[in-house]
């Protein structure tokens, strides 16, 4: 690799590529924002920007007729995703630690199973799950969504965290044990603080996965008792059957994006690599 200074030509090339990627990625977001600010009559204005900025759509989903659909869904989404993330991170931290540190039979099996579960197509299990859930009374409940979400979030959490744990020099833990710590103390006082960037990163990834789910959300719920936002969006209707709810959907999409952006901004500092530098030589 050329680690020296970039030539001017290369700088320009990188700048152009970066701008292209940024535009490609952000254009739909800007479009949705613009759409959410158009009033229903303005949606068909055949322009990119709204003729006049209107908060009508936001009013509609928070206080208007769509609010009974959207507000409970938002609460459901936040609650279910936070619980699923918390459980996934705690379980994954313990599993990943065991997988990366201990030698036990079936270690490979656990990792392979985790990977297998994560690549298993959701659509193929959603129908049997629907039957099972309705039979045992988990259909349309928070728990009924948290459990399938764990199947999505746990594998990736285990894999990410195992990678993080492997980076932490084992000597640190041994040093702690020689210094007089029990295994648990060594884990809590030395390993967990060092793994915290990994834990935060994992938590955010897990939260996104749960937050973005649509298939489980639409299939395993029927009322606002447990229906998450992505599923609720599909139930939006216009004021009349001839009116498309595009503006309201756009506004809701923006609202559900906000927690994600806020999360990343909040934990940006925690996700710093290189926290372990200085532990050992090199």
């Amino acid at each position: 690799m050329d680690t020296g200074k970039l030539t001017t030509g290369r700088k320009i090339l990188w700048a152009v590529v970066s701008v292209l990627v940024a535009v490609y990625a952000l254009f739909p977001v800007v479009w949705i924002i613009s759409l959410s600010l158009k009033s229903p009559s303005d949606v068909g204005n055949q322009q990119f920007w709204p003729t006049a900025v209107s908060w009508e759509n936001y009013e509609l989903i928070f206080t208007g007729q769509a609010s009974e659909l959207f507000v409970p869904a938002l609460i459901n989404s936040i609650g279910i995703c936070l619980i699923a993330t918390a459980i996934a991170v705690v379980l994954a931290t313990l599993t990943a630690y065991a997988v990366s540190r201990l030698d036990f039979p079936g270690k490979k099996f656990i990792l392979t199973m985790a990977l297998g579960v994560s690549i298993f197509p959701v659509i193929s299990i959603v129908t049997p799950l629907f039957n099972l859930w309705s039979r045992i009374g988990l259909y349309d409940t928070w728990l009924g969504l948290i459990i399938p979400y764990l199947s999505l979030t746990l594998p990736i959490s285990i894999w990410t965290l195992a990678a993080f744990f492997r980076q932490i020099p084992w000597e640190l833990e041994q040093a702690a044990q020689v210094d007089g710590a029990t295994s648990w103390q060594a884990f809590r006082k030395v390993i967990v603080p060092l793994a915290s960037p990994g834990v935060f990163t994992t938590a955010i990834i897990a939260f996104f996965i749960a937050w973005n789910d649509f298939l489980y959300g639409i299939s395993l719920t029927s009322t606002s008792a447990a229906r998450p936002v992505p599923a609720a969006l599909s139930f939006f209707t216009g004021a009349s059957q001839f009116e498309e709810p595009a503006g309201a959907i756009a506004a809701a999409a923006i609202v559900v994006t906000i927690p994600v952006v806020v999360l990343v901004l909040l934990f940006q500092r925690q996700i710093v690599a290189g926290l372990t530098s200085g532990a050992v030589k090199g």
């Binding site: 040093a175 044990q177 103390q185």
Partner: protein
């Protein structure tokens, strides 16, 4: 303060290969013991078994007379300095050193601060206490690791190649520092290294290991003067001992450089020895015969050879003299080289001569040496046929007396200062 006793310790890994095989060591209270050997000799494994990071397959480890095989590391009361320091990167230097004290739980904040500051001042870390390990130099990190070990009243200090990550100059300084610290605290210390210089300079006693087996456990001087076999002789000393194939015929040893007389000391041992032997002479035993007066020259044995290369070091000159070895012996020598982590490039003799010598490359030279400085080894078993057990016992007695005296003095100074 503790006495550590290893009795017939064995470590076998899953494949049944013994990484450490039947090692017995008695480490007296306050003694500084070095475990030394080339890579793969099991020295680190042995240390990790003492501290409790590796299970002991067989044998018994006692610390202060108490069986410790099954004890968890934290219950053994030992302190260890790791090769890569293993500092806690999320804690300041102060917290790193205080860590073992905080775990002990029976100390107040005031007491902890006092102890940490005492340890820090001993290691000259006082001004770095609030820094993080990432911002320290290699030598400072090394000292923090030592601070963490000395801050509590550990029964013994264990060092696992603590200096191998430092540059040559710092290594020399830290070596002296460790020796001084150990003498001052008088704490039992076990120190692992692959560097024979560290072993010789630091240790009260040195255990030489080869492929998991203990070769010799003695004071540095005894290892140097009375090595028990070819391996120890080749491992201890720098530059290493020269090994020359000789044939014992009619009371004379025929070497590629000419005849060497058999000394009275060796006559008995040679009666049952094979004809073909390996003679070991240390480079520093050679003198340039041209620089000796006639009287001295009378007592010396002399060999003649042509110098291939010389290296002038200021205080001495290394002269290199190549020779052709017998096939039978060269195989034994090549194997020895492999054991010593070396590569047998060519058979040659190195002579460390006084820098007044005038010899240069290509010169024919007469090298004089005291005949008793030649050690004879059996090429098949590697055993030192010239070993003088009485002399070895005398050396052991003397070094033990010197150690006791040093400890006594340290105690007096300590109580005087307190």
């Amino acid at each position: 303060m503790a006495e550590i006793n290893l009795s017939r310790i064995v470590k076998k890994y899953g494949d049944g290969f013994p990484a450490v095989n039947d090692v017995s060591l008695r480490i007296a209270d306050g003694e500084f013991v070095i475990l030394v050997g080339p890579s793969g000799s099991g020295k680190s494994t042995l240390l990790r078994m003492i501290v409790g990071l590796e299970d002991i397959t067989d044998g018994e480890l006692t610390i202060d007379g108490e069986r410790a095989n099954e004890k968890a590391p934290r219950d053994r009361g030992l302190a260890m300095v790791f090769q890569n320091y293993a500092l806690y990167p999320h804690m300041t230097v102060f917290e790193n050193i205080a860590f073992p004290l905080r775990l002990a739980k029976d100390l107040g904040e005031e007491e902890i601060r006092r102890k940490v500051e005492q340890a820090a001042s001993m290691l000259e870390l006082g001004e770095h206490l609030e820094r993080k390990p990432a911002n320290l130099s290699g030598g400072q990190r090394q000292r923090v690791a030592m601070g963490r070990a000395i801050v509590r009243d550990a029964k013994a200090f264990l060092f696992d190649e603590p200096l191998s990550n430092l540059d040559a100059k710092l290594r020399g300084q830290m070596r002296t520092e460790i020796a001084r610290m150990q003498r001052r605290l008088g704490t039992t210390t076990v120190y692992v290294t692959h560097d024979q210089t560290e072993a010789m300079t630091l240790g009260d006693k040195v255990a030489v290991l080869k492929r998991g087996e203990l070769q010799q456990y003695a004071s540095p001087q005894e290892l140097y003067d009375e090595p028990i076999n070819l391996f120890v002789a080749g491992f201890i000393g720098s530059p290493p001992m020269n090994f020359i194939p000789v044939r014992n015929q009619d009371g004379v040893l025929h070497s590629p450089f000419g005849p060497i007389p058999v000394t009275a000391r060796d006559e008995a041992a040679l009666a049952e020895a094979p004809e073909l032997l390996i003679a070991g002479i240390r480079p520093e035993a050679f003198e340039d015969a041209a620089l000796l007066d006639d009287a001295t020259r009378q007592d010396r044995a002399v060999i003649s050879a042509t110098v291939d290369v010389t290296e002038w070091l200021g205080n001495e000159v290394y002269a290199y003299l190549p020779f052709e070895a017998d096939a039978e012996v060269s195989q034994a020598l090549a194997e020895l080289d492999r054991d010593l982590d070396g590569e047998s490039l060519r058979t040659q003799v190195v002579a460390a001569l006084d820098s007044r010598t005038r010899i240069g490359a290509g010169d024919a030279v007469d090298l004089a040496f005291v005949p008793e400085s030649v050690k004879l080894f059996d090429p098949r078993t590697g055993r030192n046929l010239s070993r003088d057990d009485e002399n070895a016992a005398r050396i052991a007695e003397r070094s033990e007396a010197a150690r006791q005296q040093a400890l006594e003095r340290a105690r007096e100074q300590h109580s005087g200062a307190a």
